[in-house]
């Protein structure tokens, strides 16, 4: 059976350090404003008592990618073998409809190349048995690649606050939400 690869982002582990984002950027030598992965601050009342919480997201490699439907040149393909949504920059004409259509705003316009750009789950690394940069460079090991056809991890969610409804494109990314700890705060 074909694989269904997706990111599993452990928000409980994430310390919002941005190493995933910057290591990806450094490895792919992306322009200053470009981010294939971004770390975002979550609302501080996420688990009730105030905490500093972050979530790291990249392309969600959706089951029904809106980018693919929007793209007029067919630059997007969802790989049969593992479901990775790949953007072929060679074909891209920079119309930016994919960025509009993606509920997560993932494809970003590269003002220097004048083409769109997005996370490829480092498929070329995966193909030779290496893990994606963000996965292998997160100091907290908070990002994993999971074959969701193989394992269905328990306690994960596909929706975190501020995120788009997963029923639109069926993103493969799953999240582990933080567990609230006890807090004794001064009055």
């Amino acid at each position: 059976m074909a694989k269904k690869l997706g990111f599993l982002v452990n928000i409980e582990r994430c310390i919002g350090c941005h190493a995933c984002e910057i290591s990806c950027k450094s490895f792919y030598q992306l322009e200053p404003s470009m981010r294939r992965r971004t770390v975002r601050e979550l609302p501080e009342d996420l688990v009730g008592s105030p905490v500093r919480a972050f979530v790291s997201t990249a392309c969600n490699h959706c089951d029904e990618p809106a980018c693919q439907k929007a793209c007029p040149v067919g630059a997007y393909t969802k790989r049969d073998e593992d479901g990775i949504v790949v953007h072929n920059q060679e074909l891209c004409i920079g119309c930016q409809m994919c960025g509009k259509a993606c509920p997560y705003g993932v494809p970003q316009y590269n003002p220097v190349k004048k083409k769109m750009d997005k996370c490829s789950m480092c498929y070329d690394r995966l193909d030779v048995g290496e893990s994606p940069i963000c996965v292998s460079k997160c100091p907290m090991e908070a990002i994993e690649i999971v074959d969701y056809n193989e394992v269905q991890p328990s306690g994960t969610v596909s929706l975190v606050p501020t995120f788009a409804d997963p029923s639109i494109t069926h993103p493969t990314t799953q999240f582990i939400l933080p567990k609230p700890g006890k807090q004794f705060r001064r009055a």
Binding site: E21, K25, P32, V51, P139, P178, A187
Partner: protein
């Protein structure tokens, strides 16, 4: 070297006239500065990998793997051979390619005409050395000694070879030195009184702990690699307690977070101790056999401390204190990590002694996975060969003179007989990082010559006469160890030094050469030498034995990193303390010698006055280390301006809304920055992160006074700074 004759034949009158006018041959005739015929076949375009060591003032001191293609760095990442770095760098380490290849690096030695004018002229290294050496010799002639020359160097680069700067200055005679550290002194003294020295367990042992208390430490931001082990321990069932006045990123991950009133941590520890004593949860055997002064301590506690008092003092409810005390005392091993922030108070050292006592009487010291972990230096036993040359024969005087790094400006101004006339600054940005920067500027004004060696333009360089361009770790050779973990990392030269940059060691050799040219025998520092030979000289038998590696070369050939023998990774495992008594000292005569109470007692905290009622804490920022990294644009894309965090209730009192500009002011100065409202800070405290200087005309130190902490002079020569006993008033700007 280009075929001049061909050029000349082709150039007609204009070109010839220009060449004559400039007094130069045709272009291409200056071999060192232009294009030359290809010397060899095209350089190796294959991918090469080198081991580097992150030399920053950081717990994690990572081992780095640098990919080089065509002689240039294409990727920098962590070394998997190092089980602490685990092949992963922090966010800052990931920006190294940008740091090396930014067009804005300082490239050449330069001289400023008019301090602060921005009028710089490029000079050669020879000119720079000449100006500096002449000034040094003039000073020696005028004052009969070299004490008017002052070195202010600290933690910007901990490569062992970088001690060459200190060594070079010692090689000309006795000079004035900025002494002490703004970092850890109060806590280090406390541990020195209690145990003889500060010595921590291997942080990888968080995995072995049953119970972890992070006391005023925020490793999620300042030691991401430690945070990994803590999180892993938590996931396998270890309880994680965080005690902090702020809900830090680390506190956000705690099983239990306890918000304590700042500067009352000693009271909490003593309250826990009282409960543990009352409940007989302490290890009687241990305190009797391995400690002295326990009975005196018991009577102090029984007489002066109650849990109710501790609850009142700290703001932590009595049942919580009791429960945490019981849990801590009954979990084995239980691990405490004391952060540096906690001791940056006027009672910081005594608070650390109280926490040490808590760990001691529950016999958590000397246990794998336990410990009262603060800082350590067991792996630092190098030869420091660069500092071994001594003063030249016939040097007047007996020793270097010290000024307190933590009150640098004022003490430089006060220094007389002789006054300080020349300053050498390396691995430091005092105008951004010192308290009361305006006083430091005044001290600078008094100098005849200020020399700064640095990578990038900053406030201190702006205020210097001569700037010397230095190398990044990737362009030089070195060896690094950590004050926290137990690994030793080799630093190979991965690329040629860009432009005319030199390492501090090369600068030391160059200057020595010039000094000896101008006055033979005026400097004992070697005038030449190969960097690899220099680094090999740092190894001695103790280091070889400790790490099981013969040489730097062997280290670099075998993975670039090696961990010290397991024996040293458990602090005080043999329970042979380095105190005068050889035991753990609840009662320390040494403390008395330095003017402190012999016991770990509670010292009243520094309090706010009515005019400046709000505490202002300036902790470390996650996207920088002190003044380093924060100006790097990759990180600027994440956060591009400084801010002050405040509780919404406090903000409301001053009608301040999110992003409103706020004046933060006290006697020392003021700054204006946008507000960030968050319930993660207490209502009576504001927080500004340390080290921001890019694009603003201030630093957070503008309103930090040079208020000393209680300890530091025993182990570091000078007391620390009570950075967090800083009180301000705020108003909407």
């Amino acid at each position: 070297m280009l075929a001049d004759n061909v050029s000349r034949r082709t150039f007609l009158k204009g070109s010839a006239a220009l060449s004559t006018l400039l007094g130069l041959g045709a272009i291409g005739s200056k071999a060192t500065n232009g294009l030359v015929p290809t010397a060899a076949a095209k350089s190796n375009s294959q991918k090469q990998q080198f081991f580097n060591a992150c030399p920053r003032n950081c717990y994690d001191t990572c081992s780095i793997v640098t990919t080089v293609e065509d002689g240039r760095i294409t990727f920098v990442t962590g070394n998997e051979n190092n089980h602490y770095t685990k092949g992963r760098l922090c966010v800052k380490g990931n920006t190294y390619p940008r740091i090396v290849y930014s067009p804005d690096r300082i490239k050449y030695p330069m001289r400023q005409k008019g301090r602060g004018s921005g009028n710089w002229e490029r000079i050669s290294w020879d000119e720079a050395y000449t100006i500096i050496a002449k000034k040094m010799l003039d000073i020696k002639k005028e004052y009969g000694n070299t004490l008017p020359i002052c070195l202010n160097k600290y933690s910007g680069n901990f490569n062992i070879l970088n001690y060459a700067t200190e060594g070079m200055l010692s090689s000309i005679g006795f000079t004035t030195r900025a002494q002490g550290t703004p970092c850890d002194p109060a806590g280090s003294d406390a541990q020195a009184f209690d145990m003889g020295t500060a010595y921590n367990n291997d942080p990888e042992q968080f995995m072995d702990a049953e119970y972890i208390i992070l006391w005023g430490a925020n490793p999620a931001w300042t030691s991401a690699h430690s945070m990994y082990f803590i999180e892993q321990a938590k996931e396998k069932g270890t309880k994680l307690v965080v005690i902090d006045p702020l809900i830090t990123q680390t506190a956000s991950k705690a099983d239990e977070y306890i918000q304590i009133k700042p500067s009352t941590d000693g009271a909490l520890a003593l309250g826990m101790i009282r409960y543990i004593m009352d409940q007989h949860l302490y290890d009687e055997e241990w305190v009797n056999n391995h400690a002295i002064g326990f009975h005196e301590f018991v009577s102090y506690v029984k007489k002066n401390i109650t849990v109710e008092w501790a609850a009142e003092k700290t703001g932590v409810p009595k049942p919580v204190i009791e429960r945490i005390a019981r849990e801590y005392a009954t979990s084995k091993p239980a691990n405490i990590w004391i952060g540096f922030g906690m001791q940056r108070h006027t009672n910081g050292g005594s608070m650390v002694r109280a926490i040490d006592a808590l760990a001691a009487l529950t016999s958590n010291i000397g246990k794998k996975g336990g410990g009262v972990n603060y800082i350590g230096g067991e792996t630092w036993g190098f030869n420091y060969h660069t500092m071994s040359f001594g003063a030249p024969e016939g040097t007047e005087g007996e020793a270097d003179r010290y000024v307190n790094m933590n009150n640098f400006g004022a003490q430089v101004l006060d220094a007389q007989d002789p006054p300080i006339k020349m300053m050498w600054i390396a691995c430091r940005n005092p105008i951004a990082q010192d308290p009361e920067p305006n006083v430091v500027k005044k001290a600078f004004d008094q100098m005849d010559l200020i020399v700064t060696a640095d990578l990038y333009m900053n406030q201190t360089v702006e205020y210097s006469d001569i700037v010397l361009p230095v190398t990044t770790p990737f362009e030089t050779v070195g060896i690094n160890v950590s004050y926290w973990h137990y690994w030793m990392n080799a630093n190979e030269q991965a690329i040629k030094p860009l432009y005319e940059t030199k390492s501090d060691l090369e600068i030391a050799m160059g200057l020595s050469k010039k000094l000896n040219e101008l006055e033979a025998g005026s400097c004992t520092f070697p005038v030449s030498g190969n960097l690899v030979e220099w680094v090999e000289k740092e190894f001695n038998d103790d280091i070889r034995k400790l790490f099981g590696v013969k040489s730097w070369d062997e280290l670099r050939k075998n993975g670039g990193t090696v961990k010290a023998s397991e024996k040293v990774t458990v602090a005080w495992e043999d329970l042979k303390f380095r105190t005068p008594s050889g035991k753990y000292e609840f009662f320390s005569k040494k403390a008395v010698e330095y003017g402190h109470h012999p016991l770990p007692v509670f010292i009243e905290e520094y309090k706010a006055n009515n005019e400046y009622p709000i505490r202002c804490i300036s902790p470390h920022w996650k996207l920088g280390i002190h003044s380093q990294f924060q100006h790097i644009d990759w990180l600027g894309a994440i956060q591009d301006h400084p801010f002050v965090e405040m509780h919404p209730d406090l903000a409301k009192k001053y009608s301040i809304r999110e992003n409103d500009m706020v004046n933060v002011r006290n006697e020392a100065g003021y700054l204006t920055l946008p507000a960030k409202l968050t319930k993660t800070v207490p209502v009576d405290t504001v927080v500004m992160y340390e080290g921001w200087w890019k694009d603003v005309h201030y630093t957070e130190n503008f309103n930090v006074k040079a208020l000393p902490s209680d300890m530091g002079d025993y182990s570091k020569g000078q007391r620390g700074i009570a950075f967090h006993d800083n009180f301000v008033k705020i108003e909407k700007a």
